[in-house]
């Protein structure tokens, strides 16, 4: 491995969270962005090709070394680590709407889901998955919510654009057919 890749590997190993690309670049000021990107790519290949128990994952605008899923159960059985709790269907629905429509107010979310979402919004906020980014104009100036970097992290998304565009979904919204 080249020295730059070793340095990046050491930094990634030390961090419990994804390290943003620019922070990785700051580790080696003399290296160009392209060199850092190439070194990261080389490190990922090294883990993949040489057969390691860990892999290098890009998400939320950064990079993190994670264990491979085939060892999850063994690790959990040995109680060395535990999977975080799954989000409820209601919480996922709310998150999905916010991810696509952000910034969005509570009323709009409730309109789409057909149920009230007050307590769910509160718990998503407490978990740091959504944040208040402002207030809408108009009646009552409702709070507007948006997803956080932690949301990308917990769903292993590099950025929001990684989610399919609305028109790429199987059921794209199409205009109701004209009455015969």
């Amino acid at each position: 491995m080249i020295p730059l890749a070793k340095l990046l590997e050491a930094a990634l190993f030390a961090s419990p969270r994804p390290i943003p690309a620019d922070e990785l670049a700051a580790l080696a000021p003399e290296a160009s962005k392209a060199e850092v990107a190439a070194a990261l790519e080389g490190l990922r290949e090294h883990y993949d090709v040489d057969g390691h128990g860990v892999e290098l994952v890009e998400m939320a605008g950064g990079w993190q070394i994670l264990t491979r899923p085939e060892y999850t159960e063994a690790i959990e059985r040995a109680q060395l680590a535990a999977r975080p709790q799954r989000l409820s269907a209601a919480a996922l629905e709310t998150l999905a709407i916010i991810a696509y429509r952000q910034p969005i107010g509570r009323g709009e979310i409730e309109e789409i889901r057909g149920v009230s979402v007050g307590s769910i919004l509160k718990s998503l906020h407490e978990r740091g998955l959504v944040e208040v980014v402002g207030r809408a104009e108009g009646m009552g100036r409702p709070l507007l919510y948006a997803t956080t970097p932690l949301f990308l992290e917990q769903f292993a998304l590099r950025h929001l654009e990684e989610l399919p565009r609305a028109d790429e979904l199987a059921i794209a919204l199409r205009p109701a057919p004209q009455p015969l």
Binding site: R17, S116, P164
Partner: protein, 255 residues
Amino acid sequence: MSATLEPTAAANEGALADRSFVIDLPAYAGPLDLLLSLIRDEKVDIYDIPIAHIAKQFLARIRQLQLNDAAEYLELAARLLRIKAQLLLPRHGSEEAWEDPRAELVRRLLEYQQMREVVDILERRGDERRSRFGRAYLPEAVEPVAAPLALSLGELLTAVDRILRVTKEPTVHTVVARALDVPGAIAYVRRIIGERRRTRLMELLAPDAEPWQVISMLLALLELAKQGELRLLQPRPFAAVDISDHEHDPAGQAA
């Protein structure tokens, strides 16, 4: 379109009604979820929903799931019945001008269905991420984030109740009644006034006088003033109180 819809639905109703019983009751994320799964189960076209049939099934499911108290389900049920009624109304004017009362519902269902697809994606991605551990396993962040003032009255009252329950019993002081010594104070004042003819309240009280002594002295002075033995004069609020015998004007002025 709707002219053919109603008879077909009515004909199917009898046959379909028996199939409406499901043993495994899934948990629905909301009324739209329930409606959408009905539409899937009954294999009807989302753009041409047999409203009468679906509304009946919807109500049956609500009853089965004992969701009667869930206002959101009932609201959608009412909406379905309203659409059903609108479809039964005779149409006036041209066919082109007629607007399908189901259109808005279809739009909402499609929007909801689209969101469910995103949920599936998120669920898959979330599971993939959950099955990978970082180098240092961190328990999920539980540090409370400042919530954007979303407290209901009920939550507030619950919090108060909880605090009241953990709060210790208030410290209770037992007050020992101490007898006042008004006669003693009266005798003392008479003696001092007899000697000096005038004095001040602060001079009558020892610097370390206890409250009961102060009160005794005050009552003694008031009593003597009432009986006409003394004159009390306080020129201004909080000023020193001048005490003199009846003949002597404390401020040196005419009485």
